[in-house]
């Protein structure tokens, strides 16, 4: 140790009694950042969902007022009542859940076999294949959704081809309805599902399958009794990774779904921007958080276990 550091010690030691330890500061900095920009905003949503609409900017009243030394807290549950009684919102929530569930299911049906095949390909090829799966995920999301318009329109490529081949006599309606919406959803969420699933399938111990084979199990038996249970956790977490954000999807239904689909994010958006009814939109946001709390907690638990397994 040099003389200089030895001399610096005393005041450093004195200062360090007052300052939090380095470890605390290193942890605290990102902690506070996330607290301020992630947790506090939810408190703001809850607060506004309990207040009244007001013709002003911002268009809501304060819920707590200090008036003549008396603290008045007015919690307005009306918006939650309105949201729960409004058939438009109920329909929108049901619609969103349905679309998200169907998207997840279709992504699994398409993605699982693909991941399985890639994971069993030879190591050099599978890196390349996985990169090819992820590449569209990197390119512009908006362009990827937009790209389907050219295929799905009445004069689009799919219809033109089918008409030319005389498979159909008049164009199928694929754009601005549920079909278009579902195609767009599956297309965009597929890479999200495939990445974690692939990561699990590729690190599986293949000797287990060999052993099963040697003991006389048929390939499908080995798959059902070994591969499927071993990838169970990855299936659940990747499904949640698709399902939860899909419930709140806004862009895809807006571009490809047309007026057919009334997903909840669109209703919230309209309340917010067109009707200026912030408390109602906040209450709807609050309801959506409550609705997704359980799947989110589930996802959280799986992620945490994954982290601890390392």
């Amino acid at each position: 140790m040099s003389a200089a550091t030895a001399l610096r010690r005393p005041w450093r030691a004195r200062l360090s009694r007052w300052l939090p330890s380095g470890r605390t500061m290193v942890i605290a900095a990102p902690f506070v950042f996330l607290l301020v920009f992630f947790m506090v905003p939810f408190a703001a949503v809850l607060k506004i969902s309990f207040s009244d609409v007001k013709m002003a900017v911002p268009p809501y009243t304060a819920i707590a007022e200090l008036h003549d030394g008396v603290l008045r807290i007015v919690l307005n549950f009306e918006h939650y009542g309105d949201v729960l009684a409004n058939p438009l919102y109920i329909g929108a929530y049901l619609d969103s859940l349905k679309v998200a569930a169907l998207t997840t299911l279709l992504c699994l049906l398409i993605g699982y076999p693909a991941c399985y095949l890639i994971a069993r390909a030879d190591p050099r090829r599978r890196n390349l294949l996985m990169m090819a799966v992820m590449l569209p995920f990197w390119t512009s999301y908006l362009i990827r959704v937009y790209a389907w318009i050219g295929l799905l329109k009445n004069q689009g490529l799919i219809n033109s081809f089918l008409l030319w081949a005389h498979i159909i006599d008049e164009p199928l309606k694929l754009y601005h309805n549920y079909t278009g919406l579902m195609i767009g959803m599956v297309y965009n969420y597929l890479p999200y599902l495939m990445l974690p699933l692939y990561a699990q399938l590729v690190k599986m111990d293949l000797t287990l399958l060999e052993a099963a084979g040697n003991l006389g199990a048929r390939p499908w038996q080995a798959f059902v009794t070994i591969t499927l249970p071993l990838s169970r956790r990855a299936i659940i977490s990747s499904s949640l990774l698709v399902f939860i954000p899909a419930v709140g999807e806004y862009v895809i239904p807006e571009i490809l779904g047309g007026s057919d689909s009334v997903m909840v994010a669109r209703v919230m958006w309209d309340d917010f921007f067109n009707a200026g009814d912030w408390p109602a939109a906040s209450a709807a946001t609050g309801c959506m958080v409550l609705l997704l709390l359980l799947p989110m907690a589930w996802f959280q638990r799986l992620q945490r276990r994954e982290l601890e397994a390392r």
Binding site: I27, N127, S140, A147, Y187, I255, M288, L292
Partner: protein
């Protein structure tokens, strides 16, 4: 099973890749179409790229978006690396459950929820302190919140697969924690940081929901302009813009991946060489 039905598997994979790549290829193809009728091919032309450069609304929006995307990429890599480092280095501390929850949740939480809540926070702040106005700053924070989790998760994964003895060795040799971080940790996770940077950049430059919610009256950004045009249907200029975007991202990802693989191979070669040398030394010196 696989060996016998190999062709079946290959066909299946080919179909999946067709599904993944046909839509974007069509955008690229028709961006060179001369006709303004988007689905009818009439001849090769760069006309729409020229139209792109003279479209003032689009170019000024693109410029603003580029600035935000650059700022977002740097800030999310900074915060995300820090958060990821805290998770994998300290693991258990007071509030660690909440901390990992806050890092993981934005991965799945619908963007509309996050956007509306952040907007309400900023409006509340503006009411009380007169700052910040809705605009570039608020969008920047919002985009950073969207990307931090992705960076943090990649960093945690990378740090998890790393050899801990390197850190211990450096610390034993007298390096301060900061020195260990800058000299050992950072170079080892640099590839993860580059991917995180690229991903944050691409998320930021075409995010609609957060941008629309957090932008003020005078900030018109690229995704909002593109979104409002795309809602009306096909648009040849958007085809050209999309092609430029796809080309840029593809080059960046392929180059990054190439360097990543090369580095990995070199490291493996060096390690096997080192082991060979060590075992050779042991053979010569049976006393040790």
């Amino acid at each position: 099973m696989i060996r016998r039905f190999r062709w079946l598997g290959d066909t299946y994979l080919a179909l999946v890749f067709l599904f993944l790549y046909v839509p974007t290829s069509i955008v690229v193809f028709y961006s060179f179409n001369e006709s303004s009728l988007v689905t009818i091919w009439s001849g090769f032309s760069f006309k729409w790229y020229a139209a792109l450069t003279s479209d003032d609304e689009l170019t000024s929006a693109a410029w603003a978006s580029l600035q935000i995307a650059l700022a977002t990429a740097f800030s999310s890599v900074f915060v995300g690396t820090w958060a990821g480092f805290v998770i994998s280095r300290y693991r258990r501390f007071r509030g660690s459950t909440l901390f990992t929850a806050m890092v993981n949740a934005p991965l799945v939480i619908p963007e509309v929820i996050q956007g509306i809540s952040l907007l309400l926070l900023f409006v509340g702040l503006y009411e009380t302190f007169g700052w910040p106005p809705r605009g570039m700053f608020t969008i920047w924070i919002g985009h950073t919140m969207l990307c931090v989790s992705y960076v943090a998760i990649t960093v945690v994964a990378r740090l998890g697969s790393m050899d801990k003895s390197l850190h211990e060795a450096a610390a034993n040799l007298g390096a301060t924690p900061m020195r260990v971080f800058t000299d050992i940790t950072l170079p080892l996770i640099s590839q993860a940081l580059i991917s995180g940077w690229l991903l944050s950049f691409t998320i930021s430059i075409d995010d609609v929901v957060m941008t629309a919610l957090l932008s003020g009256p005078d900030s018109t950004l690229l995704p909002l302009v593109v979104f409002s045009r795309v809602k009306l249907g096909l648009n040849p200029e958007v085809n050209a813009l999309g092609t430029l975007f796809i080309a840029a991202v593809t080059v960046a990802v392929v180059v990054n991946n190439h360097f990543m693989l090369r580095r990995q191979r070199r490291r493996e070669r060096e390690m096997s060489l080192a082991y060979a040398r060590e075992s050779a030394a042991l053979d010569h010196d049976p006393g040790s």
